[in-house]
């Protein structure tokens, strides 16, 4: 019932002895024309890498609002911006975007392609790598260039080890963990050009409807501050009230442990840990979370960890920078109040 799978041409199996690229391509993820912060972080880092390699930075922005996102991108150090607002990109899942990205990669030639390590970035990066027969590194937290060689560092096994990998061949795809680099505005040529529609393509996954449940909220993987609740918060309500208020006061997002998600108190997209998301925020506040290994692997690389728990002997006390022992239902709202008062004084 199925036509034979397309095979890569045989030359894609010839192993190159090196990875000699100069240019860097960055995929800019955006929400209706607003570039995601991780995209700007990657664009900023790309300039540094391209400078070390002696090449330039090409950004690819796709879908509805791409033109607007390209305008904002001009404040960042990119040399060329390739744009398409083809409606197929949003009407069909992933395939059109991969086609455009592949066309852009082939037009630019051998290069390092940086995508965000997000749901969309992983999807695009993995498919592009397969198309190009390229190596890929994921959940990358650092990229270095030494003697023209690009190396990507990624935490593995829940951060218990960090591997550093180089690429072989003409292209290398690196999926970058949000909050790994700083978004630094700087002048770039920023010339905008429209990508041509790849010819002869059929798209097979129809997007029937998009349902937005948390408009304007930053995902936990991208937020610089995450306030998470666990079993100790005892129900769904605190996620919408005291935890949300504290997250808002700190400009952060609300996360959760597996126990809270499995109890149905909050949706899976908020889950931090082994079967949820692995994140590296600046500040992680764990509220009523014991900090079992399955949770720890998702947040151990946060810069600062603060825990609030009624029990002084919970595992999180072994690796949190500060564990405050007390009643979370009283401490959290009080903390929100004090942070707001502090912000008002220093405003």
């Amino acid at each position: 019932m199925r036509s034979p799978a397309p095979r890569k041409s045989s030359n894609s199996f010839v192993r190159e002895s090196s990875f000699n690229v100069k240019n860097v391509i960055v995929f800019i993820e955006h929400t209706g024309g607003q570039p995601r912060r991780v995209s700007l972080e990657i664009a900023s880092k790309a300039k540094e890498i391209a400078a070390a390699l002696g090449g330039s930075v090409h950004a690819v922005v796709l879908g509805k609002g791409a033109g607007g996102a390209a305008e904002q991108l001009k404040a960042y150090p990119v040399d060329a911006i390739h744009v398409s607002e083809d409606p197929d990109i949003d009407a069909f899942l992933v395939d059109p975007a991969v086609d455009y990205l592949e066309a852009a990669a082939k037009a630019v030639g051998p290069s390092l392609v940086l995508v965000p390590f997000t749901m969309i970035g992983r999807d695009l990066g993995s498919r592009l790598a397969a198309r190009l027969g390229a190596g890929q590194t994921a959940d990358v937290t650092d990229v270095t260039v030494e003697g023209g060689r690009v190396a990507c560092a990624s935490p593995k096994l829940g951060g218990t080890i960090v591997t550093t990998c180089a690429f072989q061949g003409d292209y290398g795809i690196a999926a970058i963990r949000p909050n790994s680099f700083k978004a630094t505005p700087a002048a770039g040529a920023g010339a905008v050009a429209t990508l041509e529609k790849p010819a002869g393509k059929t798209y097979r996954i129809k997007v029937e409807e998009e349902i937005v449940e948390a408009a304007g909220e930053l995902g936990v993987e991208e937020a610089s501050t995450v306030v998470s609740g666990g079993r100790g918060v005892n129900g769904p309500e605190p996620f919408k009230t005291i935890l949300k208020d504290l997250a808002d006061a700190l400009g952060g997002s609300v996360g959760a442990s597996r126990a809270a998600v499995d109890a149905g108190w909050i949706s899976h997209s908020h889950q931090v840990g082994q079967t949820g998301k692995t994140i590296s925020p600046n500040l992680y506040i764990a509220v009523g979370i014991s900090g079992a290994i399955q949770h720890k692997v998702g947040m151990r690389t946060a810069s600062t960890i603060v825990a609030i728990n009624k029990d002084a002997t919970v595992p999180i006390g072994e690796f949190a920078d500060l564990l405050v022992v007390g009643d979370l239902f009283e401490i959290v709202p009080e903390l929100t109040k004090q942070i707001r008062a502090n912000a008002a004084v220093h405003a």
Partner: protein, 262 residues
């Protein structure tokens, strides 16, 4: 309908990890190995479809693992899968995302399929990039992050998680789907299932027998492992017994101010 579920064998999250200085890779022998927890959701999704579709639907497990992993694969058969293909080859050692997806694609194609179901990612490498690459090599559409899955005739309807909600998507078979943990709670193997699994077939194939026509191990890898390091463990911080809410909140605020986080 032929349903294929890909699984990976991973070291248990709580197991002690050791790096072999020569290969710079994780020592996997002597470490407790389990079915990748994400893949149990994929198995459950496949079994629920099989339950609905009835006779004629089969669930085959496909994995790339050492032969010693056979008994772990048997757990998937005990849950209710019909049979398994275990691609085991010394030449596959050191495989990367590209090699894994490429080898799995050939083994799956050899077996034949209408629907491939994957877990979102593995708990060891955590790349989450095999499902997408696998869809490309199989030449079929791939729906990732599905939290709900329905098959009507040859049409698959899915709810796909997004960063701020979900999307309803549809596509025609043959197809690849990766599922999240929201799809269904994996079942425990019943005693009958465990007994029955002993009689089920686990076909062990070499890379050549699986039809893999290019080197996929360290030799064929598109990435080269330079170093593996164990980062310093997070030290124990301060534990503060709060006399009341005001004292607890003050302590945290002071701490955040010291670190310039507020």
């Amino acid at each position: 309908m032929k349903i294929v579920v890909t699984v990976k064998l991973v070291p248990d999250t709580t197991a002690e990890k050791r790096i072999d200085p020569a290969t710079k890779r994780l020592v996997r022998t002597g470490v407790e190995t389990v079915l990748n927890p994400f893949d149990e959701y994929a198995i459950e999704a496949a079994l629920q479809l099989k339950d609905k579709l009835g006779a004629g639907a089969t669930v085959t497990i496909v994995t790339l693992a050492p032969e010693s992993g056979k008994e772990i694969v048997r757990k998937a058969l005990a849950m209710g899968a019909d049979d398994a293909v275990l691609v085991s080859d010394a030449q596959a050692e050191g495989t990367d995302v590209w090699g894994t997806a490429y080898a799995l694609a050939h083994a799956i194609e050899n077996h034949g399929f209408d629907l491939v179901i994957c877990g979102t990612q593995s708990t060891d490498a955590t790349t989450g990039e095999v499902p997408g690459a696998l869809a490309e090599y199989l030449g079929v559409p791939g729906i990732t992050y599905a939290r709900k899955l329905e098959v009507e005739g040859t049409t698959v309807k899915a709810e796909r998680e997004t960063d701020n909600g979900y999307a309803r998507v549809s596509a025609e078979l043959p197809l690849l789907v990766s599922v999240t943990k929201s799809i269904a709670e994996p079942r425990y193997p019943s005693l009958k299932g465990i007994m029955g699994a002993k009689k089920k077939t686990i076909a062990v194939q070499s890379l050549a027998e699986a039809g893999v026509d290019a080197p996929v191990g360290t030799q064929g890898a598109r990435t080269e492992l330079l170093t593996t390091v164990v980062p310093p463990a997070r030290g124990k911080g301060e534990i503060f017994e709060a006399a009341d809410a005001v004292a607890g909140a003050q302590k945290i605020l002071e701490f955040l101010r010291e670190r310039k986080l507020v």
